[in-house]
């Protein structure tokens, strides 16, 4: 295995983060082990469970299936970047707390990223009141073993309503 290190520079949660990594270091390992952003979790490392979901240039992706060097020059948002700058919870995060949309919290960061990407897109597409089926499809790539998804679906629907009310 080559020991060569490659430079990488990524905008993470609004801040430019740079370093040197082996080519084989995945984005999630870089976030967790080098940047100490342990909010993003590892569940399967083969792209199915969705626990490691982060946003790359606004799109939810599996950070276990992309190398850190591939993210060079891109924009990444992790769960640590979802709250307001002053630390207040985002509407989505607050809605998760309101409906108790989590238990062990392990899938939650990935679930929040997938849901936030969905809500962002729904807003862009002028669909402020997504249906339950649309919500379920949006999070169908994120596995949760605690909740049976019901309170997560409720939380996303609540967040959509709150966002729509705020936009009106």
């Amino acid at each position: 295995m080559s020991d060569t290190l490659y430079p990488v520079s990524v905008e993470v949660n609004g801040e430019t983060r740079s370093g040197h990594v082996p080519a084989r270091t995945s984005l999630v390992d870089w976030l967790r082990e080098h940047l100490n952003l342990t909010g993003t979790h590892i569940g399967c490392e083969h792209g199915v469970c969705g626990a490691c979901t982060v946003m790359l240039d606004g799109e939810p992706i599996r950070s276990c299936l992309i190398y850190a060097v591939q993210a060079d020059g891109h924009r990444v948002v992790t769960v640590e970047g979802l709250a307001h700058a002053d630390g207040r919870l985002s509407i989505l995060q607050d809605s998760f707390c309101e409906t108790h949309a989590l238990q062990c919290g392990y899938c939650t960061p990935g679930m929040l990223i997938a849901a936030q990407a969905f809500l962002d897109k729904a807003l862009l597409e002028r669909n402020p009141r997504p249906t339950e089926t649309q919500i379920r499809e949006a999070i169908s790539g994120n596995l949760c073993r605690c909740t049976g998804y019901q309170q997560i679906v409720d939380a996303i629907a609540l967040a959509a309503r709150r966002l729509a009310a705020g936009a009106e």
Binding site: M1, P22, R24, T25, R32, N36, L37, T38, G39, T40, H41, I42, G43, C44, E45, H46, V48, C49, A51, T78, V79, E80, L82, A83, L89, Q93, F96, C97, E98, T99, H100, L102, Q103, C104, G105, Y106, C107, T108, P109, L112, E132, I135, R136, E137, I139, S140, G141, N142, L143, C144, R145, C146, T147, G148, Y149, Q150, Q151, I152, V153
Partner: protein, 808 residues
């Protein structure tokens, strides 16, 4: 909506949990997040064979790789440590973290490599050369019980770990008297709860203090003690940090073999060491598979639907090692006849070893498979008698006025109102309309079915059934405890002695303590002690913490309240009965201006012993250790025992449609009536129930650890082991009911296994109702898409048999 008994201030109210905010901000702290200076990492070399002799191991090339700190084989490891604990009486079925001489399943750990990074450790693991001599293997219990079978542990002399015959009540007489008998086999295939977080553990040895610090994603009773024992350390040399968030468990996070290995490595190498399973290691060698069980059911009943007696033979494939898993055949003794008035039961549990991955405790500890077999039995009887499945259940369910009700195996059910809960579920789903919908779907050419299950969740986990399976065990307590402290500032802290894996224990303790002390739970902090500073706990297993930790926290809070009242009475020179306690402040009854506030009382307790009544300790803290209610006794000579104290009830009603062209099942409606007594936090209870139902849907339709003929696990990834997503799990409606338990502090019962204990049975019954018009049935889980397809093909092939039930 819920019918929580009145009179509570915080219990039963809609309140946000204490835990959620840290998780939605990514600030949970899991074992894999524990970063220590100089941390080293483990990679494992696993057996490629289901059964083989280890001929030789060559480690020098791997050891010579830069960055590699150690390469450890079973020979070294087994000489330096003791076997992990064996629950059943089978002393020769020893088990170490690393195999020595023989491997007994594909995926078993053979060599551990420690390196500066996980990637380097994995590189080096590939350089370890192990030469094996493959030996014959056996994967199914029927074969393993044959005389000619290869033996998984030759020293044990047999593959049977445990075989008991229990007869409770006049079984033979009832079978002789009954008008009808029915016999069939129901099979629960091997699945598990498969948390999204794999098992992770970090260990650090401090030579100065001679303490081994451990951070692990653990949910396990006696974990520190068993770790210390295997490492040949005194118990007070192992410090488990319970403030680690556990990323889901539902029973399976019992990585004792992982912990002993990492503890040994950390001590030997003098560096902190971390092991995080990757997904394949978790699925194949993580030793966390659940029950793998066939039930031969034999039921005796009369034409009016009265069930007279049951005979159950349960054969369980426990895998290659014993552990505590065989006891999963034991807990169901707690509710062996379900929620029904059945006066006589014979139960023959058989635990058999094979060359599959070892089993571990899974949500319900064997009760969900038993409930599935019981509920298939009820439906088979109803179909045989051409009786309505609901009417048959209503006829046999224990009536509200019969509680407390003692079942043949000796357990007394505390309370319940089963008929009402079932009625509520049927009303919520509008059962007559659902029947019309099913029939209309059938007319359109679809296969459509309604499934019912009425099941119990024994709760308040206890170990009192273990002596039935191992006479050398005479454990009669399974306590839990809580320490409550009020500091000089007047702030309240609750301290618990175990980790949590999503059950919301911080919310539980804060709510209960707040209720007793009449102080806002939001301001109460709850912390997880480490094992050296903690009071005793048996961890959150067997749906016990609402009862046991809740009861202990309430007990400690009551002592604090009584202390405050005593201090006030001493100042006012009156009896304690003359003190009014409100919101933490005290006043003299009838003299409202004579007041001592919370802050004043706390000040006296912490600083002014001259104002304290005699006999009360200064400082303001109280511990309470609580034993399981109804616990304390060994089984009787005729094998009767009170297993768990409390019994929650759930009635599931499910509507399923199957596309006859593709055989794909789809759950269209799901209602669950649920009674777990007083709910302390309804959002938490509902969450666990939804999640349990999702688990149950997985076990019923999708999830199975499959093996090929060579003994290789063929569902080791999430591409083959199918966990239901938000599209497979339908919208679920829960209908609450509350029958308080007379045995617990607030009337609460357990709910950690809710949903999972009834969902597989209900879904299986719905699938079979859908298949019934074709005259075929399926009695094996998972009722996968493929299994349904094959059953449909069978129906096509045998059209002559359509509509005919086996009758005799």
């Amino acid at each position: 909506m819920g019918e929580t008994p009145k009179g509570f201030r915080y219990i039963g109210a809609k309140r946000r949990t204490k835990e959620d905010p840290r998780f939605v901000t990514g600030r949970g702290r899991y074992a894999a997040d524990v970063a220590l200076h100089g941390l080293h990492h483990v990679a494992l070399v696993a057996s490629p064979h289901a059964s083989a002799r280890i001929v030789s191991i060559r480690t020098d090339v791997a050891r010579a790789m830069p960055g590699v700190r150690a390469v450890v084989t079973g020979e070294e490891f087994c000489a330096a440590t003791d076997s992990l604990a064996i629950g059943v009486d089978a002393p020769s079925v020893t088990r170490w973290s690393l195999a020595r001489d023989h491997v007994r399943y594909a995926g078993e750990w053979v060599v551990a490599v420690v390196a500066e990074t996980r990637a380097l450790a994995e590189d080096a693991a590939e350089l370890v050369e192990v030469e094996y001599e493959a030996l014959p293997h056996v994967m199914e219990p029927e074969c393993a019980m044959m005389e000619a079978s290869p033996l998984v542990h030759p020293a044990h002399g047999s593959n049977v770990l445990l075989h008991r015959n229990f007869v409770w009540g006049p079984v033979a007489e009832e079978f002789a008297k009954a008008e009808h008998h029915l016999a069939f086999r129901a099979t629960w295939s091997r699945s598990a709860t498969v948390p999204i977080e794999t098992f992770a553990v970090v260990a650090q040895w401090h030579p100065g203090t001679e303490i081994l610090d451990i951070w692990a994603s653990i949910q396990m009773p006696k974990y520190p003690d068993q770790t210390a024992k295997a490492l040949r350390l005194p118990g007070n040399a192992v410090r488990v940090h319970y403030d680690v968030d556990v990323g889901g468990s539902y029973g399976v996070k019992r990585g004792l073999k992982h912990t002993v290995l990492v503890g040994y490595l950390a001590r030997r190498l003098g560096v902190p060491v971390r092991l995080v399973e990757d997904r394949l290691e978790n699925m194949r060698g993580g030793d966390m598979h659940g029950p793998d069980r066939s039930f031969d059911m034999n039921v005796a009943f009369d034409h009016d639907g009265t069930i007279r007696a049951l005979k159950i033979r349960a054969v369980d494939n426990v895998g290659a090692y014993a552990g505590r898993a065989p006891f999963q055949l034991g807990k169901p003794i707690s509710a062996i006849c379900g929620p029904y008035r059945i006066g006589a039961v014979a139960y023959e549990p058989v635990s058999v070893m094979t060359n599959k991955t070892p089993q571990e405790a899974v949500r319900g500890f064997g009760q969900a498979p038993t409930n599935f077999a019981l509920e298939r039995t009820m439906d088979r009887v109803a179909r045989y008698l051409q009786m309505d499945q609901i009417a048959l259940r209503q006829k046999n369910l224990i009536r509200k006025d019969e509680f407390p009700y003692t079942i043949p195996s000796g357990s007394t059910y505390d309370s319940g109102d089963y008929h009402t809960v079932l009625d509520k579920a049927l009303n919520a789903i509008d059962y007559p309309a659902l029947v019309r919908r099913r029939d209309a779907a059938r007319e359109r050419g679809l296969l459509a079915g309604i499934g019912i299950s009425t099941c119990l969740e024994p709760s308040g986990g206890n170990a009192s059934f273990e002596p039935l399976f191992n006479p050398k065990i005479d454990t009669t307590t399974w306590m839990d405890s809580c320490l409550v402290r009020v500091d000089l500032s007047g702030s309240i802290t609750g301290i618990m002695g175990t980790s949590s894996s999503g059950q919301g224990h911080e919310t539980l303790v804060a709510t209960v303590v707040g209720e007793i002390l009449q102080r806002d739970p939001a301001a109460i902090r709850v912390i997880h002690a480490d094992s050296l500073s903690a009071l005793p706990s048996n961890s959150p297993v067997g749906s016990r913490m609402a009862i046991m930790l809740g009861g202990a926290a309430a007990g400690a809070a009551r002592i604090i309240r009584d202390t405050l009242i005593s201090i006030a009475a001493h100042q006012f020179e009156c009896a304690s009965e003359d003190i009014d306690y409100r919101d933490g402040n005290t006043s003299l009854k009838g003299v409202p201006e004579k007041v001592l506030t919370w802050d004043q009382l706390v000040e006296i307790a912490h600083r002014k012993i001259h104002r304290m009544p005699a006999g009360i300790e200064p400082g303001l803290q109280a511990k309470f250790v609580w034993d399981v209610p109804t616990g304390g006794d060994l089984p009787t000579a005729d094998n009767r025992v009170q297993v768990y104290p409390c019994y929650a009830f759930e009635a599931h009603v499910v509507y399923v449609e199957i596309d006859p062209e593709t055989a794909a099942p789809q759950i269209k409606r799901y209602v669950c009536g649920h009674d777990c007594g007083v709910m302390i936090n309804p959002d938490i209870v509902h969450g666990m129930t939804y999640g349990g139902i999702a688990h149950g849907i997985g076990a019923a339709l999708y999830e199975k650890f499959t093996y090929d003929e060579a003994g290789q696990l063929t569902s080791g990834t999430f591409m083959d082991y199918l966990i239901p997503s938000a599209l497979e799990v339908p919208p679920i409606e829960i209908v609450d009911h509350c029958t308080p338990s007379p045995l617990t502090t607030f009337g609460q019962k357990g709910s950690g296994e809710a949903g999972y204990l009834g969902a597989p049975a209900a879904v299986a019954n719905a699938i079979n109702d859908a298949l019934a018009p074709l005259g075929v049935e399926v009695n094996e889980l998972p009722m996968s898409h493929l299994a349904i397809w094959e059953t449909l093909c069978k129906a096509d092939a045998g059209k002559a048999g359509i509509g005919k039930e086996e009758k005799r």
